[in-house]
Subunit: 247 residues, 2 copies
């Protein structure tokens, strides 16, 4: 094959070149020891180009989060108003996972770097907090006017983020091996089980009629019945007949 | 009353004097405009005294969190190994509330300051994260060896912190009026309802025998039964008899 038939190498966009140069230097010399001048020298661009894309050295470590936050917010805003809210925020969390899973090597490198540098850990906390607020704001809208609407929204958003991050971290600690979708799906399923229906709070008890929490409809048409163990059996059966629509 | 009968004013400890001086200046001139030199001049102490108590200007805004974190960790470590884990972390969260509730004026001033200064917001996020880790570490110990132990621990810790903070913020926004115990208790009760028992996950279904999630014992001897709506009634009743120990 003659050299003239080889397509010229596609030059990566300047932003990507800056990220690549930065991570090469961070890994070789350490994050603190690397300056923005070092990065732009290796990438072959000027300082102003760096700051056009990244407000600070910290931002080059998390180049995808702004875009991912925007995607997540758009995804939530575009949702069918009838869709189950907890399922929707779990699906939104999967967008973040996809960003990590698309580039396992980079994600694992960043994970190790972030663990070593306290300033990056603080930066990451603020990013996580923005994801959590995006989910909570969506849920607050969906639960507006309902009792404990903001409480439910804040708690569920925090639970979704914690479940996602628990599964994501275990994937990153395994050096990004395998497909994290299943682990994250399992973790988010735990949150959906806990919150995907109205909370089935046991009634305080007293009279037989008050022994029951109300039967609650699950989106998959599952009935959850809560009862005190010492309730009369006939009362339980009657309640079940009502819940199953067979009374 | 003669002046000689008046007890000499008790001089507040130097640490408290520094906090008082700092907040007076923050409120009068703004946080950014106040230097450590301004604070020590007003408190009448030297710079070295300031840094003996506070590593940085940010730390003087949150003078009680280190002590509160230590109290919380000790409280969790001292718990009866038989106590219900979710209840225990909710009680631990109440220790944080007490710190805020002991001094409503100071807590409300700090809340307003933190909202205005991004650097303080970042500091607060790192403090909240440390509380969350303390709760999660305790739960990880309690759930060690159980399926999804770290997942449950991380999700419940995040939910407890979110519920506490939702209620705390609503009290702070009301200028610290009234008793926040009830609001926070209600918020933590929501988390206890969601997680205080084993998650009652519906089985995937298929055969009649697989239509049921297992009956789960609640500490207050409540039975939670999960069933598909289309399950045969005789099968549901049989399952209930077993759960109630009457089969």
């Amino acid at each position: 094959m003659s050299s003239s038939s080889v397509a010229p190498p596609v030059k990566p966009p300047m932003r990507d070149a800056l990220v690549t140069a930065a991570f090469r230097l961070f890994l070789e010399h350490g994050y603190e020891q690397t300056t923005v001048d070092d990065i732009v020298a290796l990438a072959g661009v000027g300082r102003r180009s760096f700051f056009r894309y990244f407000p600070s050295k910290e931002d080059v470590v998390f180049p995808d989060h702004e875009g991912c936050l925007a995607d997540m917010t758009a995804f939530l805003a575009a949702g069918d108003p009838e869709c189950e809210p907890v399922r929707r925020v779990c699906d939104a969390a999967r967008l973040v996972l996809r960003m990590y899973a698309e580039n396992p090597t980079f994600s694992v490198q960043r994970y190790r770097l972030t663990k070593q540098v306290p300033g990056l850990r603080a930066y990451e906390l603020s990013v996580v907090w923005r994801y959590e607020r995006a989910l909570a704001d969506y849920l607050r809208g969906r639960y507006a006017g309902r009792p404990d609407g903001t409480l439910r929204a804040d708690v569920i958003a925090a639970a979704v983020v914690a479940a996602h991050n628990n599964a994501l971290r275990s994937w990153l600690r395994s050096d990004g091996r395998g497909d994290p979708d299943e682990t994250v799906g399992h973790a988010l399923g735990y949150v959906q089980d806990a919150f995907g229906t109205e909370p089935a709070a046991p009634a305080p008890g007293g009279t037989a009629a008050a022994l029951f929490g109300g039967p609650v409809e699950h989106p998959d048409d599952v009935v959850v019945l809560v009862s005190r163990r010492d309730a009369p059996l006939w009362r339980v059966v009657q309640e079940i007949e009502t819940a199953f629509g067979r009374a």
